[in-house]
Symmetry: C2
DNA sequence: CCAAAAGTGTTGAAATTACACCCATGT
DNA sequence: ACATGGGTGTAATTTCAACACTTTTGG
């Protein structure tokens, strides 16, 4: 808002870049792509797009995410803006970082491959263009903060998952071993996990019971103001990079 | 980032709106202004500005903040973007909300008055233009979250303050009475308050000791990973509006 | 039968909550 | 001398952190 009329004001490009997390077999991964066209041909980059004049930033992110992974209705949240004047040497362009969590088995492999995109383990990431390295760093910090107070991790797991898988996800996010007895006690105490009558035997002979997340119950508890904090096993985790 | 060259991409206006908190005598306040010119002449609005092509969003916010309050080096942080396509009927304009914390005695009264700006108690706010009501709501939620984990409240108090003042600030932010014994125990336990040899007698005959915030010690503890959480007296606070 | 992962309880320590009285002083 | 807000301590409860063994079963 300003006292001047709109026409006398500057306009600039607006873009969005997606920091896409996935969790695969105990390893936290990020979806990035190798640019096959200028600018920065051959360099690694986050997946992003300019925002069109008649779409919201979310829509732009959803659009590009679907284009590359085939997925809709992905968990996505605004991280922050990246707006230093010369961050993009091509033009004044403000980018809004958004981080997304993906169930890593759901995405469309062919589509991803076709776009030169690939999953990289979080701690083996190559250098990215522009300020994308910073975006990644910020996104992990945010994921950690968020995970600490909200059972957000379920967005990264398949609909049915085992407690050892869930624990392994937390361990990957916080880069820290967690005591399984304390972990189970805590996550079960929230009462938002439904134990199924099925086992997953893919990682042990005994097999681990599958659970699913009770979204309804969760919403109910949220409105009651229940606290889903899991600070216990999360203190003193590894700093970011 | 996109495969197209920049020139073929849309450009739009970028603005920033500041949600400016102050704390005055036990009451949390917000600095808003009555527009004296079109558009929305006569309506209440947050303080904001378009972002110029050669300035960062922070600079724009700092610029407008100084223009209206005379203050520099104010604590300010990005909230989120407000970007729905038709949020501003005048033109496509994305606004980045930023919330700022101000020591309410420092600002330049004449300047503020000259700009038709004024402090409103948080729960007596008039309707604001566009999506500014939402911005305010979001900012309070953020302030609460932030206050819970960081001793951010000091930005709202004068350099020297008393513990009763500090408690009153927390009570204003969370809209909740706090037990003074528990409050003192907790905030003093962090070891970032320096007790001065002075008393403030403005609110009692006995007078209350003044303290100041130990920024150095605080930074030191932060790098050590110390937790400044004050969840204790903050559970079950009043929901926002 | 054994290797490998799943599952389970207890206990001491620490943090949180609830709670009520004395102190200092200006009027 | 009294009204007003400042300042303090303790005990009961809850939560956390540390710790090791048994179960299941495919090979």
């Amino acid at each position: 808002m300003s006292k001047d009329s709109y026409s006398s004001q500057d306009k600039m490009h607006l873009a969005t870049d997606c920091i896409i997390f996935g969790f695969d077999n105990g390893i936290l991964k990020l979806l990035i792509f190798k640019r096959s066209i200028a600018p920065y041909k051959g360099a690694f980059s986050l997946i992003g797009s300019f925002v069109k004049i008649n779409e919201s930033i979310d829509s732009a992110a959803e659009r590009v995410l679907e284009e590359i992974t085939g997925l809709k209705n992905v968990y996505m949240e605004e991280l922050k803006t990246y707006n230093s004047v010369h961050r993009d040497p091509g033009a004044r362009c403000v980018s809004v970082g958004q981080y997304a969590l993906i169930k890593i088995n759901d995405y469309d492999k062919d589509l991803v491959e076709k776009h030169n995109a690939m999953w990289y383990p979080f701690n083996e990431l190559p250098d990215l263009v522009l300020d994308h390295n910073q975006m990644v760093k910020d996104a992990l910090a945010r994921l950690r903060r968020k995970t600490r107070y909200q059972p957000i991790g379920f967005e990264l797991l398949p609909t049915k998952f085992t407690l050892p898988q869930l624990q392994s996800l937390y361990e990957a996010i916080f880069q820290k071993k967690i005591d399984s007895r304390n972990f189970r006690k805590k996550v079960l105490s929230f009462g938002v996990l439904i134990k199924l009558n099925e086992k997953d035997r893919s990682s042990s002979k005994k097999g681990a019971f599958l659970y699913k997340f009770d979204h309804e119950k969760y919403e109910e508890l949220v409105t009651k103001g229940i606290n889903f904090e899991v600070r216990s096993f999360i203190n003193n985790y590894e700093p970011i990079i």
